[in-house]
């Protein structure tokens, strides 16, 4: 019963995060974002995944999960560095907005739920979240951030990160399959 409650809490958290990110893609009530707000949202979404990775590095002992988390931290940092270099060049100051605020609030709830787990349960919860989060982020980048970007270079940067997000999603699904296949820690 406890397990079921914990799963429901995590699922609700995930659903909320995913819903917030997917809402704009639905075409209705699409938030209007300036380039400064698009930049802030993009950096926030990347930072959230770095923070999830940090949590995984603290709590997981699974080699595949740790390797995945290491890649997420490194790749999303590279994207943030590119975004910061671009906004600096363009003289744009990233501006907090309703979408980035909601993302942060939902991420905090998800992290709180993940912190209650350990071992194989943590690994599965972390990877399930990564699958859902990357699906949501891809939808948001393609359905909201790219269309809302006015500056061509900002739009180009966002378009260039979509293949990386897709590769992350496939990687997460691969690890998810491994975890569901044997349910135990696996090393190389």
């Amino acid at each position: 019963m406890k397990k079921l409650k914990a799963f429901s809490a995590l699922a609700s958290g995930l659903l909320l995060s995913v819903t917030v990110l997917l809402l704009p893609a639905s075409g209705q009530n699409t938030p209007k974002l300036s380039d400064a707000e698009v930049a802030h949202t993009a950096v926030t979404a990347n930072q959230i995944d770095i923070d999830y990775a940090k949590l995984a590095k603290e709590r997981s002992k699974n080699a595949d999960v740790l390797k995945f988390a290491e890649t997420m931290a490194s790749d999303h940092k590279a994207v943030i560095d590119q975004a910061v270099a671009l906004v600096t060049k363009l003289g744009v100051t990233p501006k907090e907005n309703s979408v980035s605020k909601q993302l942060l609030a939902d991420a905090e709830k998800t992290r709180k739920t993940l912190r209650t787990k350990s071992g194989a349960a943590f690994d599965r919860a972390y990877i399930d979240n990564e699958v859902a989060y990357h699906k949501a982020v891809i939808a948001a980048v393609e359905g909201l951030l790219i269309p809302e970007s006015e500056n061509a270079e900002l739009k180009g940067l966002l378009q260039s990160i979509v293949p990386a997000l897709n590769a992350h999603l496939e990687h997460a699904q691969m690890v998810q399959k491994q975890l569901n296949g044997n349910g135990t820690h696996k090393g190389h």
Binding site: D75, S160, A164
Partner: protein
């Protein structure tokens, strides 16, 4: 001295020169053969670009001894790892870095950071 005599003398000299060089013929053939071998074995350098989370070309056919240079044109770090993960692996290639290897056998490889990225090198 009549002109025909001079002409005839030149012709004889030419004939003599040809006869003198006839014994070199086998060496000429050997040299030609060796040079043809040299043309075949000169190694060629190929380039595989890592761009948009893909190895391009993903499949490359080369001659044994050719060199393949991997160039990372993505913003994220990649590497090139032999499919089994045991035979060889490049160092981490940050954006803009490259790494090369001489190909001695057909092999499949992937990026250990992004295992969904795969490539293949085949010996012709």
């Amino acid at each position: 001295m009549p002109k025909w005599y001079k002409s005839n003398s030149t012709e004889m000299e030419h004939t003599k020169a040809i006869k003198n060089t006839l014994h070199l013929t086998p060496f000429v053939f050997v040299l030609l053969y060796l040079s043809s071998l040299l043309v075949v074995t000169i190694p060629v350098t190929h380039t595989v670009e890592i761009r948009q989370m893909q190895f391009t070309p993903a499949e490359l056919t080369v001659n044994k001894g050719d060199k393949v240079v991997f160039v990372n044109k993505d913003i994220v770090t990649h590497d090139v790892t032999e499919a089994s993960g045991k035979l060889w692996q490049s160092p981490a290639l940050t954006s803009g870095k490259s790494w090369s290897m001489v190909i001695t056998r057909s092999q499949a490889y992937y990026c250990s950071y992004h295992p969904v990225m795969k490539g293949k090198i085949l010996i012709r």
